[in-house]
Symmetry: C2
Subunit: 364 residues, 2 copies
Amino acid sequence: MLPKGFKYAGVSAGLKDGHKKDLGVIVSDRRAVCAGITTTNQAAASCVKYNRRILRRGKARAIVVNTKFANACVGRQGDKDNLEMAKKTERLFGGPVLTASTGIIGQNMPMDKINKGIDLLAKNLTDNYDDFAEAILTTDLVVKKITKTIQLLGRDVTIAGAAKGSGMIHPNMATMLAFITTDAGISAGQLQRIIREVADISFNQVTVDGDTSTNDMCLCLANGASGARLDKNTLPLFRAALTETLIYLAKEIARDGEGATKLIEVNVNGARSPKEARLAARAAAGSPLVKCAVYGGDNNWGRVIAAVGRSGARFDPEKVKMDWAGLQTKEVTINIDLKQGKYSAQAWGCDLTEEYIKINTKYN
Amino acid sequence: MLPKGFKYAGVSAGLKDGHKKDLGVIVSDRRAVCAGITTTNQAAASCVKYNRRILRRGKARAIVVNTKFANACVGRQGDKDNLEMAKKTERLFGGPVLTASTGIIGQNMPMDKINKGIDLLAKNLTDNYDDFAEAILTTDLVVKKITKTIQLLGRDVTIAGAAKGSGMIHPNMATMLAFITTDAGISAGQLQRIIREVADISFNQVTVDGDTSTNDMCLCLANGASGARLDKNTLPLFRAALTETLIYLAKEIARDGEGATKLIEVNVNGARSPKEARLAARAAAGSPLVKCAVYGGDNNWGRVIAAVGRSGARFDPEKVKMDWAGLQTKEVTINIDLKQGKYSAQAWGCDLTEEYIKINTKYN
């Protein structure tokens, strides 16, 4: 089931070669509450800067996404083109419109193709989420999407999420594009708070290569079409469903990291603080040497200790307990008990393979 | 010319396969002043913890190095074995003795071989620096050494340096093993201050893979055998020579990074502070995506901007100036002007290739 009151489209606007889908849109049939998290990169793209203003006001009608041109580091022309993309979408579907771009940095968007593509989106608007989920991919190999329905206040409340990942994936936020729609009734402030908390334990714990992109965002629209207006009893249930959604997408992003053959899940327990738990888990999941060891099927715990050792988490290397599971499968789990305190965290990464090098040597 | 009053040896103690050299020693003919910098990794190896005590006292006679076993994460046995290695060396050459180990984490040193190897070192002590420089290597492909002589106060003052690098190379310190000997006359306090300052602009600006090892150190012995006691006029000249020495070794380490085919030198100018300059340079030199672009001969400046953008350095992406040189050669230079202030820094890295994956998948 998809959230009520949303339509989606994904088309080829001719930006990518070979008629690949490269432009997508999400439209709410009414003005929705919006919330989101944007890259921490200083060189934030035009779309990021533009969205921050809309997110502060907390209302949006649609999200339009192009996945061929990052529209970053292209000066004022980038801001102008981004605004044109937003306004064109607004004329067709209503506003405000959030924008997202990803792809090559430093090249201008071909606005004729973008504008024609947006017209094409309008013609293809349906209840079908798949085209949208496909249109937002770049070097991803598989579509990453999920829907989740829970009963709240006698209504079906649905959350849908689609994400792209692959390269330049590393906390903080600044990690990927993720689009969440829900028909829950919630205030912008509540949604913003929940999204931030949940992103910290999901998207911000994914690492593919340690690079943080100029463009990446998690955007969320909540249009209230379910008829369930969340209250203090139901908010925690909604939060739990959103957490499952985001963690699912985070893992899918790690699993489909550029060149990856294995998903790495790191579970840290016994840390002195939640932050130290997160840092330790991320350092282990992100270490190039750990990633190579996993690729080689080698439970090289010394490399894990060394990675946790530089993470900032306090521990005594003599007391740490560690176990590995699934080393010969496609999902490797590394459990680390720091024996220092009561806090836990998870992080996800992938192995580092020759294919990562190939993809990033040739991509342009 | 080598510094006066030092002898060296490098032998095969049978730790590594194929009679490769794996044990080395530096011995001063008199008690020398010592200074050094040790890894920031929480899981510091036994040798690191042991040396920190000696470095605080500032006097040493010798340095003994094994390059097969990191002797890290092996509990109290590691401390005991390290002490045994130090004491055995001390009986033969005098003390105190600094120790260094690198190699596999989590395995105990075979002390019978170590002890016999130290006896062998005593028999092979010569003025020949080459055997020592060879014995300290692990997956390095080439020896990294340099000697430098300057005239100070009517005397020849010589600095010799040898280093190992390759994998797990990343600031902060915690980056490699480097051994510096000099016959300059200098106090331990002065030497410590200079080493720290110079390491910050040399070894701490080298990044190969973002991992920081449990064992790595830069150790320096100064025995005064030149007869030149440095004063406030000659200290800056000595510092300049030491800077050249350490930057040379830093570049050699980057050039010989695991799997590397190209050295990357990043020059950042126009930063708001020295720290921001260093962070920006390091982020650019260390970005996996930049490293892949260099490997592919692609001057992908967008990836550089994205890397600098997450470094913590303040800048306006629209104002940055960048140029690339030597992209088709073995030494690629990326010059970045942040246009924000007057501070500069350099960093060194290497390209990321399929060979890095191969080395780190199979190494154990």
